[in-house]
Structure formats: C-alpha cells, structure tokens
C-alpha cells in the first residue's frame, strides 16, 4: 500500500503544473532576478584603487616628501589606494579627467591642489586623503620649525598602526546579497505548505469527493496521511534542492562550503513547510480556497519577517520581538543558513534545526490527531 500511495502521490504532484510553478519555476525566476539586480551590490562595497593623475611638474619634482607619499599609496597591489597615472602637464591631466580615465588629478605645490569633475565615493576618498596629507604636513612642518626636539615623538605618533585585525571565521567574505537568497530558499521551504494542504484536503471528505472516497476505504486515515505526506515531502524537497543547485551551480552564488548541512537545512525546512500547511488545512473549517489564502498570507508574513522583501528585517524583528523571531520558521531557516555561512561552530545552527524539527513534529502530531478523530456533521 505504501508504494501505491507514495508513488502515485509523487507522480501526481509532478504532473501538477501549478505546484511546480510556485515551488520550482517561480523561485528560479526570482533568484535569477536577484542575480541580475544584486550582482553589483557586493562590488559596490569593495574598494578598488582610485584612478588618479599626478602632474609631474617642477613643484612635484622639488617635493620629495610628496613623491614619497604618492609612491606609498599607489602601486600594482590590489589594496593600493591610488592607481596613479603620471602626466607632464595640467592640460594632459584635464584631458584624462574629461575622458573619465581618472577620477581626479593632483598637482603638487605649496598647498597641493586636487581637481575633480564629479561627486562620488572615490572623489570623497581622494579629497579626504589630500586633506589629511595637507594637515599632517602642516603639523610636522610647524613642529619641525618651532620644536625640532620632539620630531621623533611626532614621527612615532604619525605611524599608522592598526591594533585590530579583520578575521573571517569561515573564510567566507561578508556579503550583503547572500541573505536575499537565504530568504528565498526559506520561502521555497515554506511553500511546502501547499503540499501539506493538498494531502489533507484530498483526505477530508468535506473538502473533496476524492477525500470522501478515501475516507470510505479500509486504509486507515493516519496511514494514508503519512504515506501521502511522505510523497509530498519528497517532491517538495527535490524542488528545493533543484533551486539550491540552480543558485549554486548556474548563478554561482557562494553559500560557503558546508553543502551537506545546507541540504539538511533544506530538508528540515521542507518538513516544516509541509507540516505547517497540513496543520492549517486540518485545523479550520474554512473552504479550500480560504485555507489557501490563509496559508499564502501567513507564509508571506513569515518570509517578510525573515527578510525576503526588506533586507535586515529579520534582525529588526529579532531585536524587538525576539519570541516572534524564534517562532518564525522562515526566520529560523534563514538564520540556519547564516550560521553555516558565518560561523565555524554548529551550536546556533543545531539550535535552529532543533527548533524547526520540533515545530514540524508537533504540527504533524496535531494534524494526525485531528485527522484520526475527524467525522463529519455534513459533507
């Protein structure tokens, strides 16, 4: 009997275009849109060397200190502040600025001059750099002139030593984009609710003629529910994995290296989604369309609070309404993915998985009790 119910459920679900569109095609389309919309987002937050022209006129040749500073902040390295192009005249520098080959140019002198064409982050950095240089140069010059004995101390103070070191626990770079994909995966997991709803509605005599026919059969309803739900979970989990594979292999989204744990998260998330849909369907006396509306609304609310529509919403909810955050399955799924991406240890991840698993078990249990005891006043 198991293979009859389980196999037919898988076959039937794979032929149900609506389900496949919402749980497979729609997330793939949405993740592709994310890819095109957010692909430059991480780059925006990565500083690259600023193309700058320096005029090598007489003043530049005469100012050894300025030459040394320019040499120190430029170079071939990736983390160099400036990518310097040396020109001989101001006219050449103007031309480079006009054509957009440089963001600005610097002309040495008693007070070095910065020429910019536009406003922007790079221009602000250039201005800040030159202001800092002028201020320090002026300070050193004043101290040198008025109190040369303290020059050594001043020099030591001006050494720019960093006392903190940036370390990534997992080796994964901070990303502003990955959260959106996590929220999307959480949404797909929660869409498992439609599978749960389908199982229960097809077994309830008051919701469908097929439900009535199955209720009259000698197969116990508890058994029918479990076998059918397993079929639904299998198809849904497959859809989530396909979406994950698409994001990773086709779009090239970097989710870190803990693939096994990610798959486990997808499985537990799918179980949670299916259980949630089954519970919504079994616990109310609404018509099927109304139940679908309730399920969709609650799912989207959970996803909103999990950060799908507004990045960082999950943090806001976690800070202000922590209980709601812990009880929100979408937020737990997103947080599980975050833990895998940013943390080396599994403590918080396992807590999330435990909460999701426990919620799913409780929901399945309540659904089972409802189904087993259900008899109808009317059909």
């Amino acid at each position: 009997m198991f293979w009859n119910i389980y196999g037919k459920r898988i076959r039937g679900t794979l032929r149900d275009k609506d389900t496949l569109i919402w749980t497979w095609i729609f997330p793939i389309v949405l993740s592709t849109l994310f890819y095109f919309a957010f692909s430059s987002l991480d780059k925006e937050y990565t500083l690259s060397s600023i193309p700058t022209a320096v005029v090598m006129d007489e003043a530049y040749e005469a100012d050894a200190m300025f030459q040394e500073v320019i040499g120190a902040v430029s170079g071939e390295e990736e983390d160099a502040l400036l990518a310097v192009t040396f020109v001989n005249t101001v006219e050449e520098a103007d031309t480079l600025l006009e054509t957009g080959e440089v963001e600005g140019y610097i002309q040495a002198g008693e007070v070095p001059r910065l020429v910019l064409k536009e406003n922007g982050l790079n221009q602000t950095i250039l201005k800040s750099f030159l202001d800092q240089y002028i201020q320090k140069y002026s300070s050193i010059e004043t101290i040198h002139r008025e109190d040369p004995d303290h020059m050594e101390a001043v020099t030591a103070l001006l050494q720019q030593e960093s006392f903190t070191e940036e370390v990534s626990l997992t080796g994964n770079p901070p990303s502003n984009v990955v959260g959106y994909y996590y929220a999307l995966l959480a949404m797909v997991c929660m869409y498992g609710g439609f599978q749960g709803m389908r199982t229960v509605s097809k077994l309830q005599a008051n919701l469908s003629p097929v439900g009535a026919r199955q209720t009259m059969s000698p197969a116990g309803r508890f058994r029918l529910v479990i076998y059918d739900l397993l079929g639904g979970i299998t198809v849904h989990f497959g859809c989530v994995i396909l979406v994950l594979a698409y994001m990773t292999l086709i779009l090239g989204v970097n989710f870190g290296s803990k693939t096994g744990a990610m798959v486990l998260t997808c499985l537990v998330g799918s179980l949670m989604g299916v259980a949630f849909g089954a519970l919504v369907c079994v616990s109310s006396r609404l018509k099927e369309a109304a139940k679908t509306a309730v399920l969709t609304s609650v799912t989207m609310c959970c996803c909103f609070m999990g950060g799908l529509m507004v990045g960082g919403m999950n943090y806001i909810i976690a800070q202000n309404l922590p209980v709601l955050s812990w009880l929100n399955p979408a937020a737990r799924i997103v947080d599980s993915f975050y833990c895998l991406y940013y943390y080396n240890d599994y403590e918080r991840y396992l807590l999330n998985i435990g909460i999701l698993g426990a919620m799913a078990v409780v929901m399945f249990f309540i659904t089972g009790i409802f189904i087993r005891r259900q008899r109808y006043e009317s059909i």
């Binding site: 037919k8 076959r11 679900t13 097929v210 026919r213 209720t215 000698p218 197969a219 008899r375 006043e377």
Partner: protein, 309 residues
C-alpha cells in the same frame, strides 16, 4: 446484508433523516428513489459512517458499522454522486490507486484493474487524464474506481447524473452484470425510469422518511391509479372537464397545453367512457395515449407532489 433502524440525522433544525428504516437482502438491487433533498445521499453517507448521526443503529453484513471497521469497509464499494478521481493521474493509475487501498497484492490488483477497465469499456483510454474524458466516460471511470476491488456490497449514488443515453445504458447494464456476479447493490436516483428498469425492490423517500417500499409492482398496486390517459384536445371547456372528473373510474383530470390528462382506476371501461363523453359533447380530439401507472404516480398519490418537483 443491511439493517438500518430508527436512523435520525439532523442539520440544525432540519431533520434530514427521520427515524429512517431499511433492510436490504443479500443479492438485491435495492433502489432508493426520491426527489433531490429527500435524504438518499445522507442515508448512504450515514450507512458508510462518513457522517455522524444523532440516533439509530446501522448493521452491515450483520455487524455494527463504524468508521474504523476496516474489515467491513473492505467488502464495500462506493460510487459517489460527484466524480471522485485524481485529475493528475491517468485512468489506469486512478483505478489502480483506489483498488490499491483495498487490495495490497500487486499482481492480483493488476488483474482486477484490467478487469474493471474492460468492464466499463475504457480500454482505449487507459493513459488518458480525466480532463480529457467526456462526461460519460468520466462517470464510467468513477464507477470503475468504486468497483475494481470486487466488493460484495456496492453503493451507487446517482451514478448517471449528466450522462448521455448511450453511457447511461452501458452503466445500467454494467450494474446488472455486477449483480449477476454476486454483488448486492444499493442504487439511489431521482430518475424513476432507471430505478424501475434496474431494481428488484424500491424504497420511495421524501423528507428523510421512507414513504413506500416494495417491488415496482407492489408499489403500483398500493395506489388507486391503474391507467394514465392523455388525449390531444384543441379546446376543452371547464364544464366538460368537470363532467369528466365525475365519471366513474376517474381519479383526477386536468387540461394542460392542449392535452387532457386523466388518471383512471385500473380495469373496467374508464378509457372508453371518457372518450365517449368527449364525442357526445362534440369535442374533437387527436392522438390518444394510454400508459400504466409509473412510480411518479405512486409518489404523487402518496405525497401530492411530482417526483421531479
């Protein structure tokens, strides 16, 4: 096979089944006949423990029926009023699925499914999805899903609603064949012709009560009407209609849409007397039809309303 005693089912203030009694013998084709809303489907759903009921005792195969009496359910087949099949499964898969709920053995099931497909004549449509089938074929699939496991007791709840005449005949012949193969059948319908044609015993229901029970001959013998007369008359004055009503053997006469309809007692010369009166009053008439009474007449005489009302 079936014993129902004092079954009461209420929907709020509405009494859907009012101390309903039923006894069906092994091997019968038992008809439940009544207008829509008379309680036929509710009675079946209660018998199958699908619906809660307020009072009463239901026994099938001499055992009390309950929702979790799976041993009893295994011997029962149900063909519901609404087509109950999965839209995403093919004809074969649907029958196999429902048969599989009763018959775990795969080899035996395969044979049963093939037999059911042949029985309802869907051999050419095995791989079709239900949405590709016509209404008649869909009804046949619905029947196949209910009877593939060879049940001993089959409930057929209005299986021919919205079915073309060809499919209807095929379905009715199929039901007779199932009975010949040994199945006891409970058949509900509001089509009296079907019930007359098919059933060995008939219960007429109205407002949740059994108002008459017996063979079709017994039911017809319960009423005074022995003959129905329809005469095509171009114009019939009220006075003459009154005279006809007073003729001996006339139970009721009415004139409607150029037809004089008269219910007569059986035997005697009522037909001749009626036509003689029309001649004597110089009322010209055309075609004359005479029919034996129908179950509708039984229903009409007992309840005062038409079965199709």
């Amino acid at each position: 096979m079936i014993q129902v005693e004092n079954l009461v089912k209420r929907y709020g203030d509405l009494v859907a089944l009012d101390h309903f009694q039923l006894e069906v013998q092994d091997g019968e084709i038992f008809g439940l006949l009544g207008p829509n809303g008379s309680g036929k489907t509710t009675a079946i759903n209660c018998m199958l423990s699908l619906l809660k009921y307020d009072k009463g005792d239901i026994r099938l195969f001499d055992e009390p029926m309950s929702a979790d009496n799976y041993r009893l359910k295994r011997q029962i087949g149900v063909v519901m009023q609404n087509v109950a099949v999965f839209q995403e499964l093919t004809v074969y898969e649907n029958i196999d699925y429902f048969c599989g709920l009763y018959v775990p053995d795969k080899v035996r099931r395969r044979a049963l499914v093939e037999e059911a497909i042949a029985f309802v004549g869907l051999e050419d449509f095995k791989k079709f999805l239900p949405k590709k089938l016509s209404g008649g074929l869909l009804r046949r699939l619905n029947i196949a899903c209910g009877i593939a496991h060879k049940p001993k007791l089959i409930f057929l709840d209005e299986p021919t609603v919205a079915v073309d005449p060809q499919s209807r005949n095929s379905i009715l012949e199929g039901i007779k064949e199932l009975n010949r193969q040994g199945a006891t059948i409970v058949y509900t319908s509001h089509y009296m012709e079907e019930v007359e044609q098919l059933c060995t015993r008939i219960m007429i229901m109205d407002k949740g009560k059994a108002i008459a029970i017996g063979t079709k001959e017994e039911l017809k013998a319960m009423i005074r009407t022995g003959e129905r007369l329809s005469v095509e008359v171009y114009d019939l004055p009220e006075k003459i209609l009154g005279e006809i009503e007073k003729l001996p053997g006339v139970i009721h006469a009415e004139y409607e849409e150029h037809y004089l309809n008269v219910r007569l007692t059986g035997g005697g010369h009522s037909l001749v007397t009626t036509l003689d009166l029309l001649r004597q009053r110089d009322i010209s008439f055309g075609r004359v039809f005479s029919e034996p009474p129908t179950l509708n007449d039984v229903f009409l005489e007992i309840t005062g309303k038409q079965l199709r009302d």
